[in-house]
C-alpha cells in the first residue's frame, strides 16, 4: 500500500461511514411508534393459565342465544366468557401433546364444536364442557381430516368442516357427523384453497378465508365457486393471511388479518374494503398476529389478539 493509494481511499470511506452512522438514529426515530391507533372499548383476559387468562389464544366463537363467548388458546384450554368477558367455565381438550385446536364454533343446537386440528377429528361439547361426541380420523378419504380448521352450519343443519394440509377442502356432514359431500381442492385457482382458515354462512352463501392465497372466496352452499375477494397487500381491500372471519348484522364481512395485524370491514357486494381497525403493536388498539374475530348481537367486534394474549373489543 503506497501513500498515494492511502490518500485516494481516505475521503470516501471516512465520509461514508460517518454519514451512515449519523443517518441511523434518524431512521430509528422515524420508525419508532409511527402511526396512531384507535383505542378499543374494552380489553378482555390477561396473560397466564386459569380463568380469565390466556396464552396465545387462537379460536373464538359467539353464542347469540346465551350471549357468551368461547375461546381456545395454546394451553388447549377452552373458556366460556360472559358478555363482559368474565370467565364462566373452562375445560381442557383431551389430548394436546402434538398440537392445539385453531378454531371453534357454536352449533345450532347450542353445543361447542371444536376442530381438534392436530388430532384430525371434531369434538362436540355441551356449553359446560362435557364431551358429547367426536368423529373423524386422519386421512384424505371421505370423513377423514388432515388439519381441520373451522366449522360452520347452514340453516338445514348441515355441518361444514374446512381443512388444510396438502388436501385442502371443505367437507359437509350431517349433525350426527355422517359424511355427505365435499368441495374445493388445494391450489391457487378459482374454487381452490391454500389453508381455508375460517368460514361464515349467510343464507345460501358461504365465505371462506383462503389464508395463504390472501383472499376471501365466495361459494354457493352446493360448492359452486362464485368469486374471489381481495388480493395480497396491505391496502384497503387487500389481505395478508386473513385468518378470522365473521359477518355483522348489516351483512358486512369482518376479516381478521394475521399478516397485517388488523381487522378489516369488507363490503361483500363490491368486495371493497370499507375500514380497518388496529395496527401492529402492543398498546390498546394495536395487535400482534390476530387469529380470530366475532361480532356479537350488539355489533361489538371481539378480536383475538393472539400475540398480546388478550381479546380486544371495539365497534366499526
Amino acid at each position: 500500500m503506497n501513500a498515494d493509494n492511502t490518500m485516494h481511499w481516505m475521503s470516501f470511506p471516512s465520509a461514508f461511514i460517518c454519514a451512515y452512522l449519523r443517518l441511523v438514529p434518524l431512521l430509528l426515530i422515524a420508525v419508532a411508534g409511527c402511526g396512531r391507533s384507535e383505542k378499543p372499548d374494552e380489553i378482555w383476559c390477561e396473560t397466564g393459565v386459569g380463568p380469565g387468562k390466556v396464552v396465545y389464544p387462537r379460536g373464538i366463537a359467539y353464542d347469540a342465544k346465551t350471549d357468551s363467548f368461547f375461546i381456545v388458546d395454546r394451553t388447549a384450554q377452552v373458556q366460556r366468557l360472559d358478555k363482559d368477558g368474565k370467565p364462566l367455565a373452562e375445560w381442557s381438550m383431551p389430548d394436546h401433546l402434538i398440537g392445539k385446536p385453531v378454531g371453534l364454533s357454536i352449533g345450532p343446537d347450542g353445543n361447542v364444536y371444536v376442530p381438534d386440528t392436530h388430532y384430525q377429528r371434531i369434538i362436540v361439547y355441551d356449553p359446560s364442557g362435557k364431551e358429547i361426541r367426536r368423529w373423524g380420523k386422519g386421512g384424505t378419504g371421505p370423513g377423514e381430516f388432515i388439519y381441520p380448521t373451522d366449522i360452520a352450519f347452514d340453516e338445514k343443519g348441515n355441518v361444514y368442516v374446512s381443512e388444510y394440509g396438502d388436501h385442502d377442502r371443505i367437507q359437509v356432514f350431517d349433525m350426527a357427523g355422517n359424511y355427505l359431500r365435499q368441495f374445493g381442492s388445494f391450489g391457487t385457482g378459482d374454487g381452490q384453497f391454500r389453508r381455508p382458515q375460517s368460514m361464515v354462512i349467510t343464507g345460501d352463501t358461504m365465505y371462506v378465508t383462503d389464508a395463504c392465497n390472501h383472499r376471501i372466496i365466495q361459494f354457493k352452499l352446493d360448492g359452486t365457486w362464485v368469486r374471489n375477494i381481495g388480493q395480497v397487500g396491505g391496502s384497503l381491500g387487500e389481505f395478508r393471511f386473513p385468518y378470522g372471519l365473521d359477518i355483522d348484522a348489516k351483512g358486512r364481512l369482518i376479516v381478521c388479518e394475521f399478516g397485517n395485524n388488523r381487522v378489516q370491514l369488507i363490503d361483500p357486494q363490491t368486495g371493497k374494503g370499507i375500514a380497518t381497525w388496529g395496527q401492529p403493536g402492543r398498546e390498546p388498539g394495536e395487535m400482534a398476529y390476530p387469529w380470530g374475530v366475532v361480532v356479537d348481537k350488539r355489533g361489538r367486534v371481539v378480536a383475538v389478539d393472539a400475540g398480546n394474549n388478550r381479546l380486544q373489543v371495539f365497534e366499526f
Binding site: M1, H8, S14, I17, Y56, G233, F258, N308
Partner: protein, 535 residues
C-alpha cells in the same frame, strides 16, 4: 483525549446493551431464593440436565466429526475446491435454526416419514439437525488452527510416518474447544427442539417464562409462540415468571460457564497457534482428493439437503415478487433490525480502532454465551415500564438484544486494527505528528474499512437470522419475519413457511457473500504485507 472519549462512548454502548442485562441477571441470581433450590438436584432436575447435556453434547460431537474433512481443506486446501469450501461451508450456519430444522423435517417426510413427536427418532432428528447446522463452526476453528501449524514440523512428521498422529496432537486443543463451543451454542438452542415439544433446559426456560410452569401433560410446550413480551407493565406475574425463568436457567448457565472456561483453556494450552497464518506450506501437505471430495459431500449434506428439500416441497412455483408482497412487513422489519444492529456494530468497530475494547469484548461475549432467551427476558423486565415505551415498544429493544449478542464481532474487527501488524502503521503516523483521530481517518480507515464494514454486515446477517431473543421480544414496530415463521414451523409441507424460509435464506446468502468479500478485501493488504515480510 480522543482515546478516552471513544473508550467512554464504547463502554456506554456496551454497558447499555450487555452490562445492564447482565447486571439484572446477576441481581436475580443473587437475590432470588428459587435459584438456590435449583442446586438441589431432584430427579426431575437431574433428568432435565442429563437430557440437555446428552442431546447437545451428541450434536457437538457429530458436528465436530462431520467437520474434519472441511477443516482439512480450509487448513491445507488450495485451488477452486478450497475457495468453494471457504464460501459454501457457512451457508448452513447463516440459515435461521428454525428454517434449517424445518428443512430436515421435510426431508425426512419426503424420503421416509416423520418420527413420532418426542420419540427417540424425533430426538435423533433434532440432534442431527443441530449437528449439521453447527458443522461450519468446528470446521473453521480446526481449519484455521491447522493453518497455523508449522509446516516443517508436519513435513518431518510425514517423513517419520506419523503425520496424522502429530497433527492430531497439535489440533487436540482446537478439536476439544470446538466440541465445547458447539455444546454451548446447542445448549442455548430451543427452536430445534420446541416444534415437537422436546424438553431440554432451553425449551423449559421459555415455558416457565411464558406460562409460569415447566412443561407437563397439562402444560404442553408444543404450540406457536406465546406473547412473552406482551405489555404487562404492572403485572407482578411477569416479574415472578421472569425470576423463575432465570432460576430454571441456572444449570444451563453453569454448563455454559464450564464449557466456555475449559474451551478457552484448551485453545490456549494445547493449540499450536501463535499467528493467524504460518505462511505457505509445501504441496505434499496440501489436502488430497479424498479430503476435498468428503468436504464437498459434507457441504452437500449440511447445506444442500435442507435447501433442495425446501425447494422440492413447495407446492406452487416460486414467485419472488409474490413472496416479497406476502412478507413485505416482516422483511422490512427484519432488514431494518439487521441494518440498525449492523450499524451499531460498525460504530463499535470504529470506536474499537481508537479506544480500549478488551473489557467490552469480554462483556459482549458473556451476553452472547448467556443466550438470546435470558437476554430477552432481562431486557423485557428492564424496559417494560411506561416511561421507557420508546425502547420497549419499538425496534430499539430488539436492536439492543442483537448488539448485546453479536456486538463482539464488530469489536473484534475493530481490535484487529490494533494488533501488532497494524502498530507499525500507527507508529509511523504518530512519528509524522498525526493525532489518533487523524491516524484513524488518514491511515487506518482507508485500509481497514472493508473489514470493519464486513463486521457490521456479519452482525446484520446474524441479527436477521436470530431466533431465540427475537421470538421472546416479538417486535411489532415493525414486525419481523421470524416470529411469524415460528407459528408455522409445526406444519410440514406448508407453503408460506417454505416461501419465507427461502426468502430469508436468499437475503442472508447475498449479505453473507458481501461480508465474506469485504472481509477478504479488508484482511488482504495486511496479510499480503506479512507474506511479503516473510519473503
Amino acid at each position: 483525549m480522543t482515546r478516552r472519549f471513544s473508550t467512554a462512548i464504547l463502554l456506554l454502548l456496551v454497558g447499555l446493551c450487555s452490562g445492564l442485562p447482565l447486571a439484572w441477571m446477576a441481581w436475580h441470581l443473587v437475590t432470588n431464593p428459587e435459584v438456590w433450590s435449583e442446586f438441589h438436584l431432584t430427579a426431575f432436575r437431574l433428568d432435565l440436565l442429563g437430557r440437555t447435556l446428552g442431546y447437545n453434547l451428541s450434536a457437538a460431537l457429530i458436528a465436530t466429526a462431520l467437520s474434519i474433512p472441511a477443516a482439512i481443506v480450509i487448513g491445507r486446501g488450495r485451488g477452486v475446491v478450497a475457495t468453494f469450501v471457504w464460501c459454501a461451508l457457512p451457508i448452513s450456519l447463516f440459515m435461521p435454526s428454525i428454517v434449517y430444522t424445518y428443512g430436515w423435517a421435510n426431508f425426512l417426510l419426503w424420503v421416509w416419514k416423520t418420527p413420532d413427536f418426542q420419540s427417540a427418532g424425533d430426538v435423533a432428528r433434532c440432534v442431527f439437525s443441530l449437528a449439521t447446522w453447527l458443522t461450519p463452526l468446528p470446521a473453521f476453528v480446526i481449519g484455521l488452527a491447522l493453518r497455523t501449524i508449522d509446516a516443517n514440523l508436519q513435513q518431518q512428521a510425514m517423513l517419520d510416518g506419523a503425520l496424522w498422529r502429530v497433527t492430531l496432537r497439535q489440533l487436540a486443543g482446537p478439536i476439544g474447544a470446538s466440541v465445547l463451543l458447539c455444546t454451548v451454542l446447542a445448549v442455548q438452542e430451543f427452536a430445534v427442539y420446541e416444534p415437537t415439544g422436546i424438553s431440554v433446559i432451553a425449551t423449559e426456560l421459555r415455558m416457565v417464562f411464558d406460562t409460569g410452569a415447566v412443561s407437563s401433560t397439562t402444560n404442553s410446550m408444543l404450540a406457536p409462540i406465546g406473547g412473552g413480551a406482551s405489555r404487562e407493565t404492572t403485572s407482578p406475574d411477569q416479574r415472578a415468571r421472569a425470576a423463575a425463568a432465570v432460576a430454571t436457567a441456572v444449570p444451563m448457565l453453569v454448563m455454559i460457564a464450564a464449557c466456555g472456561i475449559v474451551g478457552a483453556w484448551l485453545l490456549k494450552t494445547f493449540s499450536a497457534a501463535d499467528a493467524i497464518d504460518a505462511g505457505p506450506w509445501p504441496n505434499v501437505l496440501s489436502a488430497g482428493w479424498i479430503s476435498k471430495s468428503l468436504a464437498i459431500g459434507v457441504i452437500a449434506l449440511i447445506a444442500g439437503v435442507p435447501l433442495v428439500t425446501l425447494v422440492h416441497t413447495l407446492s406452487i412455483p416460486i414467485q419472488p415478487i409474490f413472496i416479497l408482497q406476502e412478507f413485505a412487513p416482516g422483511v422490512f422489519g427484519s432488514m431494518l433490525g439487521g441494518v440498525l444492529a449492523g450499524s451499531a456494530a460498525l460504530l463499535l468497530a470504529v470506536l474499537a480502532t481508537l479506544g480500549r475494547s478488551r473489557g467490552a469484548i469480554v462483556a459482549n461475549l458473556i451476553t452472547f454465551l448467556v443466550g438470546g432467551q435470558l437476554l430477552a427476558i432481562a431486557l423485557i423486565r428492564i424496559y417494560n415500564r411506561p416511561s421507557l415505551w420508546m425502547v420497549y415498544d419499538t425496534i430499539a429493544i430488539t436492536v439492543i438484544a442483537y448488539v448485546a449478542k453479536f456486538g463482539w464481532i464488530g469489536l473484534a474487527a475493530g481490535r484487529f486494527t490494533v494488533s501488532h501488524r497494524w502498530r507499525e502503521l500507527r507508529d509511523l503516523a504518530a512519528v509524522d505528528g498525526a493525532t489518533p483521530l487523524q491516524t484513524l481517518a488518514g491511515v487506518i480507515l482507508p485500509i481497514a474499512w472493508p473489514l470493519l464494514v464486513a463486521g457490521g454486515v456479519c452482525v446484520m446477517v446474524l441479527s436477521i437470522t436470530e431466533v431465540s431473543a427475537t421470538l421472546l421480544l416479538m417486535p411489532m414496530k415493525p414486525q419481523m419475519l421470524t416470529p411469524q415463521m415460528m407459528s408455522w414451523v409445526h406444519a410440514l409441507h406448508f407453503d408460506p413457511m417454505i416461501e419465507a424460509s427461502l426468502l430469508l435464506t436468499a437475503i442472508v446468502a447475498m449479505l453473507a457473500l458481501a461480508a465474506v468479500g469485504l472481509g477478504w478485501l479488508g484482511t488482504r493488504p495486511i496479510l499480503k504485507s506479512a507474506a511479503d515480510g516473510r519473503r
